[in-house]
């Protein structure tokens, strides 16, 4: 599905390789290449910066799906202590495509929940490539209810191509499971902090993605449909995914500008996987601060604010407000 090296980063990687070769030559002591190496390193650094600051939406999609990008459990293990994984939806199964459990952030209890992708084939099969079945969403819902009963804030990580499109998933009510979670999240009386760490794939993302604060990593994406899916439906041509990626406005920057997400968490040049701990540390701070701030609110106000936040999303033309009319008299435009 994805490659270890993206097209966009190959000039950089080539340059870095060259620099390394020069360094080896340099170490022999026969020629002094220090100045040249220094110059090349400056150049590499500029290149890096310019590449990653100017990624196209499609390049961001590729980066968001990068196989070396940290997955939920890496965030959990790095940012939290005392993670106690909990399993099962208490109805049908435990779905490995969603993980969850209690943990501590700065010593304070939280419930962490996230989509879980694998790093290699076997793990990816086990995790179903991060695509939950209904029981995954229901597990998440159960854990969120559990957290709310005990006043424990909820922290979720979004990283999924989407809900799994399978026969059994449909049989067991994929649509219902997603809807129930969204309804649930709209009214839970505890802070909910959401971070999109990779792919935010449609309803399968939103099913654990409604929150008081929604953060996105700099190179993550969040979309109503995959660019490939959009292209194949709109233009009957999946190869126009790049175009769709642009049209759908799926980057963190786009979504922040439009007020859909609350903040962007910057990534090191090259993406979070090049220096994950920098991001882990920064993100942990942001989340901890957000929780502290939100936990201070009366829970009714917290829920009301969350309601109003989503209530305001949408762009439309509104000719007359609060109108009520008899169709015969008024006609219909």
């Amino acid at each position: 599905m994805t490659q270890r090296v993206l097209e966009v980063e190959s000039p950089l990687l080539e340059l870095e390789e060259k620099i390394n070769e020069l360094k080896i030559v340099n170490q022999t002591g026969k020629i002094d290449l220090s100045r040249e190496i220094e110059a090349l390193e400056r150049k590499a650094s500029q290149l890096k910066k310019s590449i990653y600051e100017n990624l196209t939406p499609w390049e961001k999609v590729r980066l968001a799906r990068h196989p070396e990008r940290p997955t939920t459990l890496e965030y959990v293990n790095a940012m939290f202590t005392d993670f106690f994984e909990l399993h099962g939806d208490r109805h049908y199964a435990d779905d490995a495509a969603i993980v969850g459990g209690f943990a501590r952030l700065d010593g304070q209890p939280v419930m962490v929940i996230g989509h879980q992708k694998g790093k290699e084939t076997r793990e990816n099969l086990f995790r179903n490539f991060g695509m939950p079945n209904p029981e995954g969403f229901r597990k998440a819902g159960r854990l969120m209810k559990l957290a709310a009963s005990f006043h424990v804030p909820i922290v979720t990580f979004i990283d999924t191509p989407g809900a799994y499109p399978g026969i059994e998933a449909e049989e067991r009510g994929q649509y219902e499971a997603i809807a129930q979670n969204i309804a649930l999240m709209s009214s839970l009386p505890v802070p909910i902090i959401v971070t999109v760490i990779g792919e935010g794939g449609s309803g399968g993302a939103l099913a654990i993605g409604m929150g008081d604060r929604v953060l996105m990593l700099e190179h993550s994406v969040y979309s109503v449909i995959s660019p490939e899916g959009c292209a194949s439906i709109l233009w009957r041509d999946a190869t126009r995914a790049e175009e769709a990626a642009r049209a759908l406005r799926i980057t963190a920057q786009d979504l922040h500008r439009r007020g859909i997400i609350d903040a962007i968490v910057s990534e090191p040049p090259g993406g979070v996987h090049r220096a994950p701990h920098v991001v882990f540390g920064k993100l942990a701070n942001i989340i901890a601060e957000s929780i502290e701030e939100l936990a201070a609110l009366p829970s009714a106000l917290l829920v009301e604010r969350r309601y109003q936040k989503y209530r305001a999303m949408g762009e439309f033309v509104c000719a007359v407000e609060n109108e009520e009319r008899v169709p015969v008299a008024a006609g219909v435009g």
Binding site: G173, Y310, G314
Partner: protein, 294 residues
């Protein structure tokens, strides 16, 4: 209830699109309609008396939003809400999208894929929302999300039961993330009805899938479905491509979801109004809902 299309005509003689226009296109002779499933030609009068249900094979042809309102509302009772809310093009998806919107506006005489208002259903005052598949496949963008939310918020403030009749292929791609967020917005509004003890009834009609299925459509206190409607999250084509096998017969139909526990009852169109009225009777006696005589 027979003659309800006549009533519809007399109610909105100048501005309404011809009811049954979709189905009739196939046969030039205006007296006859051809069933789009079994292809039997049916006398138009009979077809309309059966509410566009094929006499022969029982197929439930799609109704327009106004036809649906006529089917469910008591005569002259419907007051439209929020007709002034119409689509923007927030992502600037381009002239192609704008042109399609305009076409569908012409075709359906609707501002977007949902028509909402206050009405009486067998004397029960209700907030009623009906979707129209003919408008961009009933897809939910900002307007559908806003109008469904407004419907519920108005129901809340007026303490009315809410009924929504769904028909939608899902989110409106051309509005990107805004469409996705309508799932959150509408579901949140629905929860407020629940918290207020107000009934919310859903009727799933063909098709109800993806983003609409996975939000307000799935959250009814009671969920009815018309026979043989396609319901589900993922589209059949996507599933087939993923699992690389053919889908079983009857997959994702109303009857399939009845069997799998997600639908309370599959109700033929002719019984839909009376079924809803009976349910309202069970759910609105507590005094917490506006009384019939209001």
């Amino acid at each position: 209830m027979s003659g309800f299309f006549d009533r519809l005509r007399s109610q909105r003689p100048k501005t309404t699109a011809q009811p049954g226009a979709n189905a009739s296109r196939e046969i030039p002779d205006n007296l006859w309609v051809k069933c789009s499933r079994c292809h039997t030609a049916v006398f138009r009068k009979v077809f309309e008396e059966q509410f566009k249900v094929c006499d022969k094979c029982g197929y439930h042809h799609k109704l327009t939003a106004w036809e649906r309102v006529s089917l469910l509302s008591d005569p002259d009772a419907f007051l439209e809400w929020d007709a002034g809310i119409t689509p923007a093009d927030p992502l600037q998806f381009g002239p192609d999208y704008q042109r399609k919107l305009e076409e569908d506006r012409q075709k359906t005489r609707l501002g977007d894929a949902v028509l909402s208002g206050r009405t009486l259903l067998a004397n029960h005052p209700v907030a009623l929302g009906v979707m129209d598949f003919a408008f961009r496949g009933g897809s939910m963008g900002s307007v559908v999300g806003e109008k469904i939310t407004m419907l519920m918020e108005r129901a809340l403030s007026e303490r009315l039961p809410t009924i929504v009749v769904t028909s939608s292929g899902g989110a409106r791609m051309q509005e990107g993330i805004y469409s996705l967020m309508q799932m959150a917005k509408t579901s949140a509004a629905r929860v407020r009805l629940q918290e207020a003890g107000l009934p919310y009834l859903v009727v799933l009609t063909d098709p109800t899938t993806a983003g609409v299925a996975a939000s307000f459509a799935a959250l009814g206190d009671v969920i009815l479905a018309e026979p043989d409607a396609i319901i589900g999250f993922s589209g059949a084509r996507v599933i087939e491509q993923t699992i690389r096998q053919k889908l079983p017969e009857g997959f994702q139909t109303s009857e399939f979801y009845l069997k799998h526990g997600f639908i309370d009852s599959v109700v033929p169109r002719k019984d839909l109004k009376s079924s809803l009225a009976r349910l309202l009777g069970f759910l609105t006696r507590s005094g917490s809902v506006a009384s019939v005589t209001e």
